[in-house]
Symmetry: C2
Subunit: 323 residues, 2 copies
Amino acid sequence: MSALSEFELVGRHLRKDNVRGRADVVLGNGDDAAILRLPPQCDLVVSTDTLVAGVHFPPAFSPADLGYRCLAVSLSDLAAMGAAPAWALLALTLPAAEDAWMEAFAGGFFELADSEQLELVGGNISRGPLSITVTVHGQLPKGQGLRRSGACAGDWIFVTGSLGEARLALDWLDRMDELTETAHRQLYRRYARPTPRLAAGRMLRPLASSCIDISDGLAADLGHLLEASGVGADLCVEDLPLSPMLMQLADARTAQSHALTGGDDYELCFTLPPAYADRTEAIAAQSGCKLTAIGQIRAGRGLRVLRRDGSELDLAAPGYRHF
Amino acid sequence: MSALSEFELVGRHLRKDNVRGRADVVLGNGDDAAILRLPPQCDLVVSTDTLVAGVHFPPAFSPADLGYRCLAVSLSDLAAMGAAPAWALLALTLPAAEDAWMEAFAGGFFELADSEQLELVGGNISRGPLSITVTVHGQLPKGQGLRRSGACAGDWIFVTGSLGEARLALDWLDRMDELTETAHRQLYRRYARPTPRLAAGRMLRPLASSCIDISDGLAADLGHLLEASGVGADLCVEDLPLSPMLMQLADARTAQSHALTGGDDYELCFTLPPAYADRTEAIAAQSGCKLTAIGQIRAGRGLRVLRRDGSELDLAAPGYRHF
């Protein structure tokens, strides 16, 4: 059997019919391109992300988790726009064609895809150093996409979920056996299988003045939002939502630092005009995702991180460094 | 300066405003995702392709040619569907952040993008082994996309342009200095900067019964078309369009073999019902691209390649092997 056939063979795991066909897919995976039909009065939202072995994930990362994670990371971008997931394309570069690896990878990928009614409509497998590029497509009512720009002085700043645990998981990656099995599983999952905040993003669409997903760390990504909006912000570091596990496994200073600058959280950071601040409880209840006010937008430029006593933190290292 | 900032810096070459904004781009490159507006009564056509250094192109390939080629290869898929190019996303993985490399790459990419009114609406740069994934989006009138399926017994089989030169260029890559400068330039260009047959694809849309682009070699890709259509075909090997350069630099047997099984041609292979066979001259004239009848679809299965004397060729190696 030629090597090409081997890659074609493992690629079959990506064509299995465990995703029910969406009505808006005219022609799916298998031709030169997919043909898709956007519902009337909808805008199309598109984003692409690459994960490289040894850079964005440990080389020995479980293929099932990798399949889940590469899609979750891309879907988080759709969540930040308030879009509903629809279609994905997958470009997979593999050092060798291994059937078991591919089956596990597809299992993780489709677990998340199926739960979000997302259909894989195209892709290809190449030989080369392990790397994955996922391009996701979402839909939203015309003109209603959330953006990084739009935050106004006086708006409250919120985040979904809790911060810093993904970074904590990386600290503990080599000594997970020191943790209880429950703690191990919970912590590893926060890094390996982030939850894209799609439901929260969609509910925020008519309310939030701006939104971004936190992939590079809160300080770095909120910084991008402030720059795009042309405003500044004050955060209160004691208001950051820290998980019980983060507070238990890290000292207070490390916990705050992870919450402020740790990457890979894939929570949303958004701004709400004061008039909508009372809507957050209902959104949290319906989306099943905690929302926490962490600060306020102000005129001017730059991000100030304050302690409750009014003193200012120095953010020497804003954000996770990819490289 | 941190390494991340270096990558951000080189990434600026991809945001330059040398592409006039398309009216259907609501929000372009720079947010978590792009927001795009498909014109009414249009279907969306999407395809993704990856080029890996050392697998799909020589590691020392010129960055300007690489920028051009990675987009050309993806646009060829849109051509095969009869779609008009609209938007692209670029995921670039680079071993180092080199400004001069990036500027040259962007130069090649935008040379082709601009000439096809295509806008780059998103992308990212990662550190890692050199590899490029381009996702392209095209538009076509609802329900009118060309497919691999649809060929019927009696339809004529055509190809655009000429075949085998890209494969010939690979043969000569290490001894280009034995060629005249004109021959060198012409041959190298056929491999480095293939011409996606977009105009021909669009004109064929209402006429052709099926279409595919030839990336893996005529025999392999026509084989895919036959399988998708559930038919067989007879080709006449003496009818294959060989360029004067191919006939000059290769013996007759090698020239035929390259035309049949050499990859990277990025020509279109399509089938036409006999009633439309007289339309090809007008399409060739308007698209500036030669069309040649090379055989005919028949009932049954499989591809037979015949000599003019009626004897059959044995296709031991159908198509370029990627691996």
